[in-house]
Symmetry: C2
Subunit: 159 residues, 2 copies
């Protein structure tokens, strides 16, 4: 129901929000979020196109979040990669329905609206920690990233 | 967010609930619900395996709903073809999370729960008509099904 792409995008954004003072390469984010690098690369392109992250080239290049997590909603992240589409017209293209929805599609649209509102009302900052839950991606805290036996340092000069 | 398969299954169930006194072939349901017959055939197999519809062979064979729409929830239809999966464990398989979810996956699970509850609390009978909405599949009322210029009669002896 929540696609792999959407979930991967949220993992990446949470990781970048947790580590705002550095730039991170695709390889580093992939290792930290446990997302295949090729898949992640496409997800990051989507986030980049929407302006939620930026990429800098060069030795200290990499990706950074462009928004304050306090002001960035989960909905903005979701819509950057796989926009939530409400049902505005009869999917059967029944002319007689006009602009109205039958009860079936009204029910589905109301359910999609629940998801949209839930994501709209949740800020990325709320995903970074709660007293009653483990920290997200908590086996990869800043300064303790490993890929195999090799520590992964920030800013490897690749994106 | 709501898959094509799920939506097609609901269209088919609504159609069968609207026309309970007859059996309907795949071809008839496909024409009425405007779903490609090959795709619909697989959807109907899923509904049949879950016992929500049954099929009878022979001249007057076809599909019928096995449940009273007053007692059948939208969730039962959805779960018959593409079960809603709650997030019960960390998708990153982080051992340190144990049975707890981090705020990211807790947020996603809570959103999935909203959808699950919404579908659980809606009966198929509620999809058949509301005073303020057009009837579902309303260009194909009982006794007025057409495929091209040919009226489609119920129970063509095929499923």
């Amino acid at each position: 129901m929540i696609s792999q792409t959407t979930e991967y995008a949220l993992r990446a954004v949470v990781y970048l929000a947790q580590h705002p003072s550095e730039s991170w390469t695709t390889r580093q984010i992939a290792a930290a979020t446990r997302v295949p690098a090729g898949y992640l690369s496409k997800v990051l392109q989507g986030l980049s196109r929407s302006g939620l992250i930026n990429s800098q080239r060069g030795r200290h290049g990499g990706f950074q979040l462009t928004h304050d997590p306090e002001n960035l909603t989960v909905l903005e992240v979701v819509n950057a990669v796989e926009p939530i589409r409400r049902i505005k017209m009869c999917p059967l293209k029944l002319g007689s329905h006009g602009e109205g929805l039958c009860p079936l599609h009204k029910c589905l649209d109301e359910t999609i609206a629940l998801v949209e509102n839930s994501f709209q009302n949740t800020k990325v900052s709320q995903l970074l920690g709660r007293p009653d839950t483990p920290e997200p991606l908590c086996e990869f805290p800043y300064g303790n990233q490993f890929k195999g036996d090799q520590p992964i340092e920030p800013t490897q000069g690749e994106t």
